[in-house]
Symmetry: C2
Subunit: 385 residues, 2 copies
Amino acid sequence: MCRGPGAARLILGDELKGERETHDNEEFETRGVRSVTTIKDIAKSAGVSVSTVSHVLNGYGDIGQETEKRVRAVMKELNYHPSALARRLVRKRSYVLELMLFSVEGLRHPFFYEVICGVTAEIEKAGYDLVLSVRDTRDRRWRECLRRCYESKVEGLFLMGTLPGRAMLEEVASSRIPTVLIDIPFEGSKMTYVTSDNAGGARAATEHLISLGHSRIAFIDGHAPSAISEERALGYRQALANHGIPLDPGLIASGNFTQEGGRTAMKRVLEASPDVTAVFAASDLMAIGAMEALREAGRKVPQDVAVVGFDDIEAASYVRPALSTIKQQGETMGRSAAREVLKLISNPGRQPKKIVLPTELVVRESCGAWLNSSEGGGVRAQGLS
Amino acid sequence: MCRGPGAARLILGDELKGERETHDNEEFETRGVRSVTTIKDIAKSAGVSVSTVSHVLNGYGDIGQETEKRVRAVMKELNYHPSALARRLVRKRSYVLELMLFSVEGLRHPFFYEVICGVTAEIEKAGYDLVLSVRDTRDRRWRECLRRCYESKVEGLFLMGTLPGRAMLEEVASSRIPTVLIDIPFEGSKMTYVTSDNAGGARAATEHLISLGHSRIAFIDGHAPSAISEERALGYRQALANHGIPLDPGLIASGNFTQEGGRTAMKRVLEASPDVTAVFAASDLMAIGAMEALREAGRKVPQDVAVVGFDDIEAASYVRPALSTIKQQGETMGRSAAREVLKLISNPGRQPKKIVLPTELVVRESCGAWLNSSEGGGVRAQGLS
DNA sequence: AGAGTTGGCTACAACGTTGTAGCAGGGTTT
DNA sequence: AAACCCTGCTACAACGTTGTAGCCAACTCT
């Protein structure tokens, strides 16, 4: 019996009670969207053709001064705004980019926020809209998201967070939508990624400790299979090697990227190597845990043991002593990612280019740099990568 | 000489070098957007009319089984995805909501992130897209943003952060776009707001301290002209009044919502009222500052002085002792805001309803609740409001 | 057998733009 | 005076859908 969705349409009671402010109700309203002035209304009202209005709108420069002035006046008077929808349809471009953020519970890292700011800043200049989609990593329905991208003819994609799996990455790659992954190493024919120089950052952190006179430097690792973990470990080893300091397995422990893990890792290191004078942790959370363990063990930070973390989470600056750390340039990453996507869009032949950005060493209190120098915490130095 | 923008179109060199993966290149590409299969292709390929395909797509239920199967097969085979753009144009609905976030440098509060998660979760269910726009509060070009909203025929709006000014609020109100402000008290004919029960939260915090036996409870205020500040102060006074505890101006100081401000405010209170045994700060940042001041003054938290904050910033759980605080239910706020906007859209006659959500008391270590009970930090109790 | 009903399909006019092609008419060149 | 070129405008066919109206055949009633 159902002859189309029209049959199911609800007639909604229009109870217009409570009009505290009597607005001029010249606008006719349909469900949801106001019936709005179109280019035709302008044309009729100005006594010209639709084409003429369009040409004024798009600056063809072939309309007489008088006419243009009249058309513009009418547009203003009728409060006309050209429909992006119609324009996009006829131009066969959606002017929409999508950012999909896959997060796991508890991961509310300001880094994401910074990346988003960078992305929006850059693409707005180019006239694109950013649609945002946030999903839980464990949510199985990521295909649903992609379907929406296809239907919206999304022109470019940003993927960020902890993706639901490799299958998704491959599906996106085969979709041929220009894509830039944020801090997820994967490449395809229209797909590349931006990342921080993790090894370089770790090297800078370790070398900073070395430059402060330390040689018994512990390393608190993340967890083995993670690429990020490995790169940061590599940087640590490189720094030691560069300065002829032997690698001591008794100074290395895994903290599994958690605060509690950092604490127990530090305890193990203290037991195995009581002569430790500095710690580089592969994440701030672990560094904070390590500081707790040090305090419990009666070691003063930074006087007895210097600590440097990685990430620059919000807490790093509130913890006492404030944590020196390696900061990823979130906004810059967002901007770079956006620029790369825009290039990929405007130049379909382009070979996607992977981008590695330098990190920044943020010197606060926990590394004890201020014990030697005259100034307090908060000084920033560009990490050499 | 310029006969339209077509004349200015660039011919981009299509250097297709470096095809590491030889994809099947059956798709013809134009600038930016791939030429994609349309409903016509499906119709032709399946030997039916465009209408038939459309009817299959929209489940009119008036298409024969055999035909439907064939059409669906062709759709799958040609990897067809109906154009949302065209659909939206003909349906006169954009299915787009916009969230504008105005932030000032440094305000990277996880609260925003939670709200966004709530909003996206709720509107995706309803088939809407969320376009996100982040701007600096000091950026004068907010009219530009609104123009984009008009052109995109945005159906609903969320405003969050520190708005550039009242003028904007009024402009949005007169635009008649259904709007929900996040934690910004302002109402209009199609506009309302969601907020937390600041007074109730402050009351819960203060009463929690009272229930732990305190009566010399300091209050560290934000800054006077702020509505949030006032509400939280009100809650503090209510709690005291409810329990017959006299209000002592010597226990109140303003911390200007900063960490440093919290520290100096605490110092002033310690001087004026050395017998203070508990502190409620109107923000976590100030609470953290207050804890520093207490430590410097040789007072132990929570043994000598109990501390409760407000906001539940990320740092609250990393600081030691971990900070007990009042948490705004960001995700719930986002969800509520979204639901209200959706209602406003589907029922144009609706009177916008302001929403006040209860806050949550998060008991950690700084208030000393665990000194009395058997369990440690991290317990959550629903704030009574 | 004629009238009515139903199932399964299609034609067509929107929706609000854009951009190309073209057309007057006035001017300037040969 | 014929040939051209500008300037200022308009007609029209797209763009990819939707939803209504309607059509034809095949049934089911009387």
